[in-house]
Symmetry: C2
């Protein structure tokens, strides 16, 4: 199937489907109807059927969807059925925190090579990973076969780093740096903007 | 106006409007038409006009919207025109990283009182904040007049902590703990699920 044709909002829901199904599996539920799944997801039953039919899951009129099977299918679609290695740029406070963030490992993500420009950090080992110089990106990164990277560095020269990552085959980037980055052709950038979430909460706390 | 009637998706866009307008202001742009704003936001011009009219901003046929004025209006709506103090529960790696996260302060948020259950941490000072015992929540928190809190603690007993925060007047919560929390009546919880973002990127890196 052509993944690039899947609507972005469906992709965003996939990971919530996976989580809801993991919870159902944990609770010992074997099968689930679209209306129950819709309730847990906060969408309409028609939306659930539309989303899942894109990936060839049509459920069963009498029993609904098989929880274990659907959970497995979505894991394969998300590529989280096997461990994936990510590169990380920047080993400041945030970068070091992410190295030990359990949520990543639990979902099948492992931070492999880490890069920094600080000579104090280069060559040292942090949470089991050796820190490489950002100057050695081109020689080090290819050995790790990463398709994804995390940006947890400063904002100076960020566009150039992103261009180098793209040239080295990085296809998607989780960006913690609070500044505008234009994604190169064929690269997807997801921004984590914690301040934007606080702004939303600030508005809602006045409501 | 009744804030509770504003659609959630409009609220989520507000903080992006604020950022786009801040960028325009920085670039010296004085006024902007809805179609240009729409382009920068990635929505339709009709959507922009609908969103902003909710808050009484109708622009000007000849000149468009006044950038400085609209930026100020949205800042007041978001409540980020004055510094807001947040409480934080949990002073592990993540909590300590958030204490020094510049993005918060830049957008008008300040982490005030911090709480932990670890007797090794209680009474010590981290990045200028004294760590209080979570047992003292009811006596310490009211002095700080917080409406918002950040959860960066472990998952055990989380529902009880959220219930206590709600009783103490906390209206909205930014939750970094990767587990299900049912919001008490009148409390809004925004979950930060970094693994879900990675799952989405993993899917897109295969597309």
């Amino acid at each position: 199937m052509d993944f690039s044709k899947v609507p972005l909002q469906t992709v965003e829901r996939l990971s919530r489907y996976r989580r809801v199904l993991a919870d159902l599996q944990e609770d010992g539920v074997e099968s689930v109807f679209s209306h129950r799944l819709a309730e847990l997801m906060g969408v309409t039953p028609a939306q659930v059927r539309r989303d899942l039919s894109i990936f060839g899951s049509f459920g069963n009129v009498a029993r609904g969807y098989d929880v274990v099977e659907l959970h497995g299918t979505i894991g394969r679609l998300l590529g989280t059925d096997k461990l994936q290695t990510l590169a990380m740029i920047g080993l400041g406070n945030l970068g070091r925190t992410l190295l030990t963030y359990r949520g990543f490992q639990e979902r099948g993500f492992h931070i492999g090579p880490v890069f920094d420009r600080d000579s104090e950090k280069i060559g040292k080992v942090y949470a089991g990973r050796r820190c490489y110089s950002i100057d050695d990106l081109e020689t080090v990164l290819p050995d790790f076969k990463c398709k994804m990277a995390i940006l947890a560095c400063g904002s100076s020269g960020l566009d150039a780093i992103v261009a180098r990552l793209a040239d080295l085959g990085i296809r998607s980037i989780l960006n913690f740096v609070p500044c505008r980055v234009i994604p190169p052709q064929g690269v997807f950038i997801e921004n984590v903007d914690l301040s934007a979430k606080l702004e939303k909460l600030s508005f809602l706390s006045k409501a």
